[in-house]
Symmetry: D2
Subunit: 102 residues, 4 copies
């Protein structure tokens, strides 16, 4: 089953800068072979659900192993059986209707 | 690695009532042997991360197999290495401070 | 318009303990006169949408004023026009179906 | 207070296609004068918190007025007092570190 997911990792490190662990998490998603799109409040990925979930588990393992004591990750997971839809399809489906309503 | 998770399944069924698939999702979490707490906007669970993630995958598989064509699930996953903390501990840690600030 | 909301405040304080600012946020929701239910991964509230949103803004203002430099808050907001539904109704609607599916 | 927000509107319409109300919601954010970036699982906006929250309320009002009976919106709201940061800054801060870890 393929999913499109939105993943936002918040590491609690004792520092208010989170960019290094967040970049590390992003790299784990890339290394998992997923299609990955960084945005301003997280990372979207698409791929097989088992691969996506395994990558999320690896993010927690990796960050903890590198010294991050506490992590809160927000995830949205979307799957559908009625048609295949890429991340680009989802954006395009909305974009083509914007402004068309009058 | 143990996690505490918050899981909110939104099935898009062609009906605005979602209670049956939401109850089904909740049952999958119970059947996975997780510690489960229903609340007004989702279900909290605690247990091993692999078990939690496998249960989430099974929710999508189960609901799709039962005819739900589209699902969007929101998840929060929290893990920490500095101490063990149950769902009750988390609630209690906040509750004992409420009203104590003057 | 009434809403049911789920609010999870993550303060980035330079400490990994978040219980004090989280309790402070919870208190702001109580002080706003909302119906409030603490759970293991956030707080559910119900009330008029304008009151809920104003309370969320006050949480950020209050925590920043008390020295929290960075806050990431996750919110789910549910509204419906087809019927009135309390937080208890939502939990009960799911609970009465659990185990009834066979 | 300025915020960066991630907004994902899920309308429950009795249809599994959500693109029209989702595009309508996106238009409300543009009409509010916010800086808006559509992505594959929602829309990021930046601007004054009061403007962002008022636009979210208007989305619910607009969609209900146009016949959507039930809406569940997921929001992430980030604010910080230590520095100003645009949506582009956030993406760039992560991007410049990807692959730099060896």
């Amino acid at each position: 089953m393929d999913v499109i997911a939105d993943i936002c990792v918040i590491p609690l490190t004792g520092s208010i800068s989170v960019r290094e662990p967040v970049a590390r998490a992003h790299q784990v998603l890339i290394d998992a072979g997923l299609d990955v799109q960084l945005h301003a409040y997280g990372t979207n990925v698409s791929g097989p659900m088992a691969t996506v979930l395994a990558a999320i588990e690896r993010i927690h393992e990796t960050l903890h192993a590198e010294g991050v004591p506490r992590i809160s990750t927000s995830i949205k997971l979307g799957s559908r059986t009625d048609k295949r839809q890429s991340m680009e399809d989802k954006v395009e489906a909305v974009r083509e209707r914007i402004g068309s309503g009058g």
